[in-house]
Structures are given as C-alpha cells and as structure tokens.
Amino acid sequence: MNALELQNVDMVFNPGGENAVAALRGIDLSVEPGEFISLIGPSGCGKSTMLRLVGDLLAPTAGSVTVNGKSAPQARLDRDYGMVFQNATLLEWRRILANVELPLEIMDVSKSERIQTARDMLELVQLDQFEDHYPWQLSGGMQQRVAIARALAFRPSLLLMDEPFGALDEMTRERMQMELLRIWQETETTVVFVTHSIPEAVFLSTRVVVMSPRPGQITKIVDIDLPQPRVFETREDQRFFALLTRVRESLRAVEEE
C-alpha cells in the first residue's frame, strides 16, 4: 500500500467564476512508505496547494487523493500526518513542552503519557533543556525544531513540510537539514517536503518532483541515487552536482516553454 497516491488531481480556485485560478492540473504521483519526496518548482506552481490537498486542508476539484489507502479527509481524522509550516506557529502563551503536547491534548492522551512523549520528542530534536522556555526565547531554528517535535509527537506515518527552513539563514539551514535526515531515519516516516532550493531538494530526498509554473503539472521526477545516510561530504560529491544540474535543467526547460 502506498503512503500517498494522487490520481489525476486538479485544483481550481473559485471555479466557474471570473477569478478562477487553475493551480494544479492532472497531478499523478505515487509515494512509497519511507520515501523522502521534495516538491520543487517556480513560485505559484501549486506545490503548497498540493501539500494542502494531501492534508485535507483543501479539497481537489477533480481526481483523488489517497493517504495510507484512505481518503484524505479520513486520513486527517485518523491523524495520519503531521504538518510543519515555514512559520513555526508555536503558541506563544504556552511553554515549549506544552506546545509539543498540544496535538496529544487534542487527541485526549493522558497527562503523564503526554508529558513523557513530549519530552521524548524534545530529546529527539535535542531541545530537552528548553522545555520550560517560551517560544520567544528561542531562535528561529530552534522554534522550527520544536515544530518538528510537535509534528512527530503523535507518531504519524507521514510528515508534510511546507518550506520549513525557508526563513532560516544558510548555515542554520544546512544544520537543520542534517537534523531532519537523522530524525527521518530514526522515525521511518514518509516525508513530503516543499522547497524553493534545488540543493536542499537534492540533498534531502530520495526523489525530487519538478513542477511547472501555473497551472502546476509534474514535469519530471528525478531519482536521487546518492548513498544513504547523507553526510556533509555528499554535497561535494560529483554525483550531487550532476543531479543538481539535472533538476535545474528540468526547471529551466519548463520555464522556457
């Protein structure tokens, strides 16, 4: 059973009206469990929209979205996925530990279990020292790590990430990428990762999905056959550059059409 399947998905905003915007057209994608998929494309190509379709935050105008063999709304109700946004979106009136506990509270997990799980998650992202801090006391990178801990707190099989490192500086970003890969390997989650950055997409993924400008279509899926686990040296690998070029060319080819 695939972790994720999109079949012939269309997404039109304000359908039938003058403001109708075709965001996605004819999207077909299958993702196997444990993969790390990046969605990359020019601004407005619909990659964030696609992520929201998977998360049942939007409903497609045509086609089907299947998560773990279920419909997207069912998967959402079953809490099959966790989500991380570009903005960490931590609740500023709660301490870090309580922020990580939030999804567990909503799912009616007992207090002692919640606290223990939240602590384990903070340890996973190496922020257990900060459980009593408030979000505003942490840097952007640390807040994102808390957001990741929170997204994984209820152990979803799927992680949806919408440019989570977009607001961070380059060095923090590279460190966070290594962190994410480590967490991915330890938890064996399937990850769908939206990004603007070609090196980021190639470094992190098992496959890179290249999208066209609006209306977004999948132009190419690039297999990233770099060895696992990825290390800092991977970025200096010849194969890495070859793959960067392949992705870059796919993006450019689409834009020139």
């Binding site: 946004f85 009136w93 509270e105 909503i106 840097s139």
Partner: protein, 303 residues
C-alpha cells in the same frame, strides 16, 4: 514590577497629582489677579475663577472631612460618599459581569457564524448610539412594574454599556491567530470547541483585557446615570443630584462627590489591571504591534 520601578511609578504619580493641583490653583490665582481675562489681553477666561465656580483644592478636600449636611448627627461627607459609592459600585460590578459575559458570548457566536455576525452586528452597533439617558427611565419603570429591587435596572444599564467593547474586542481577538495556526488545528482534526479554548480564547486575551478596562469605566458611568432618574435614595447618582442642587451654597461638596465618583472608576480599572497581570505575562500585553500573537519574536537568548 521591580522595587525601583514601583517607587518610580508611585513618585511620578504623586508628581502628576501635585502638578494638577498646581494647575488648578495657578489658574485660579491668575484669574483673580487679572480680573477674569488672560494675562496681557482682554480675552475672557473660559472658566470663572471665583471661589464659587472653582473652590480651592484644600476646600474640596477638607469638605470631605466635615459633616455632609447641617442635620444633627450627620455623617462626614466622605463617609456618606463612600457608602453611596459602594452601593453604586455593586450595581456596576454586577452589570459589568453580566455585560462582559454577554459580550464574550456574542464574540464567540460571531466568530462561529458569519451569518449571525452579519445579521446582528448592525443592531449591536445601533444599541450604543441610543442615548443611555433616554433608556434609563424606561428600564427603571419596567423594573418597578416587575417589582424588581431598584438596583436591577441600574445593573442592566451598566451591562448595556459594558457589553459592546467586550463583544467587539473579543471578536477581534478570536480572529487574531494566523491562518497557519488554524490549519494546524485542522490538521489535528480538533473539534470546534478545542479550537476555541486552545487557540482562539488564549489568543484573544490581550485584546479582551483592554476592552474590560473600558467596560469597567462605562459600567460605573452607566450605574451613576441609571440612578439619576430612578429616584433612588442611595448611590452616587442621588448624591450628585442633591449636591448639585445645593451648589450655590456649598460648591465644594459637588466637586468632592465628583472626585469620589472618579476614584470609583479608577479603583475598578485597577482591579481589572491586576487581573490582567495575573492572566497575561508581560511579553504578551498588547503593544503597538497588534498583529496576531503566534509569530516568533526573538528574545534575549540567541542560541
């Protein structure tokens, strides 16, 4: 507040009070010496400065500690006024509580149902433009017909003035969280009530408390205004009326009553401010930046 911060706050408060006294007395002295005009001009001063229109500050204060009336065994003015103030304040508190609850409830209703908001909001706004002084006698008469105790219509008028700022600001606060925060809650398949109590209400608190401070003052005003036509024997409304009628013989008593009435409002707002300090840590108090409060702000540590 730190000890130094607090003593500085007290110090500046005292300075301001002294400054206002100096302004009052200074204006009086100026008017007496120039004979009622701005110095070096012929332009008349806006307020008369004789002792009848503007009693000296110490006359006003000392009037508080003299008997309120010439009747034998009369209480000191301050005692009479404090008793009246307590009576009025009790109605104001009940009205404040009722009005705030209604206001909060309306805010929740409007955030859940835009249909309700569109339908009811015009009436909510219109309710505030009707002059209270016109409604007060109507409510008092109804209260009498229904044989309710006389503080009930007064509390109703307080509630009437209190609910509006609370409703508007509750709605604004409940809507303040970022779109991503709402998406997050949706991704957790959170129920509407969970979204309300875990996200929207905590986000609304920095908007709610300033509205409660406004409601505190308006409920006191409402209570005093409500007492005026009620023909009530107790309360600040009655006290203000009777001292207004004796203005020509003892003006300082009216000023003293106004002072006490103002202090009631200040006291009430101070209570709300204390509640605010307990409910919201200082980093969250609403400052100039009123964009929603789920964005990260870097603090002192920079790890």
């Amino acid at each position: 507040m730190s000890r130094r911060h607090r003593s500085r706050a007290v110090g500046s408060f005292i300075l301001i009070v002294l400054g206002m006294v100096a302004l009052w007395e200074g204006y009086k002295w100026m008017g007496q010496t120039t004979g009622g005009t701005w110095p070096l001009t012929d332009i008349e001063l806006p307020v008369r400065t004789n002792d009848r229109a503007m009693p000296h500050v110490w006359d006003i204060v000392s009037a508080l500690f003299r008997p309120a009336t010439r009747a034998a065994g009369a209480d000191l003015l301050v005692v009479l006024l404090l008793r009246a103030a307590f009576f009025t304040w009790r109605s104001a508190v009940i009205g404040f509580a009722a009005g705030s609850l209604v206001g909060f409830g309306l805010g929740v209703l409007f955030v859940r149902s835009s249909l309700a908001e569109r339908g009811l909001m015009p009436y909510v706004v219109a309710s505030q433009t009707v002059p209270v002084i016109a409604i007060a006698p109507i409510l008092v008469v109804w209260g009498g017909r229904l044989e309710l105790p006389n503080w009930v219509p007064v509390a109703a008028i307080s509630a009437y003035l209190a609910f509006f700022p609370v409703a508007i600001n509750t709605l604004r606060g409940l809507r303040s969280p970022a779109a991503t925060a709402s998406e997050l809650m949706r991704s957790y398949a959170a129920s509407q009530n969970q979204v309300l109590w875990k996200l929207q209400v905590p986000a609304a608190l920095p908007f709610l408390f300033p509205a409660l401070k406004i409601a505190a003052t308006t409920s006191v005003i409402g209570a005093i205004v409500g007492e005026l036509p009620a023909g009530m024997s107790e309360g600040l409304g009655r006290a203000l009326l009777s001292f207004a009628s004796s203005f020509s013989s003892s003006p300082e008593k009216l000023f003293a009553s106004v002072l006490i009435a103002a202090l009631v409002g200040v006291f009430f707002v101070a209570l709300v401010a204390i509640a605010e300090r307990i409910a919201i840590p200082p980093t969250r108090r609403l400052k100039e930046d009123t964009t929603m409060n789920v964005t990260p702000r870097l603090g002192n540590t920079g790890a």
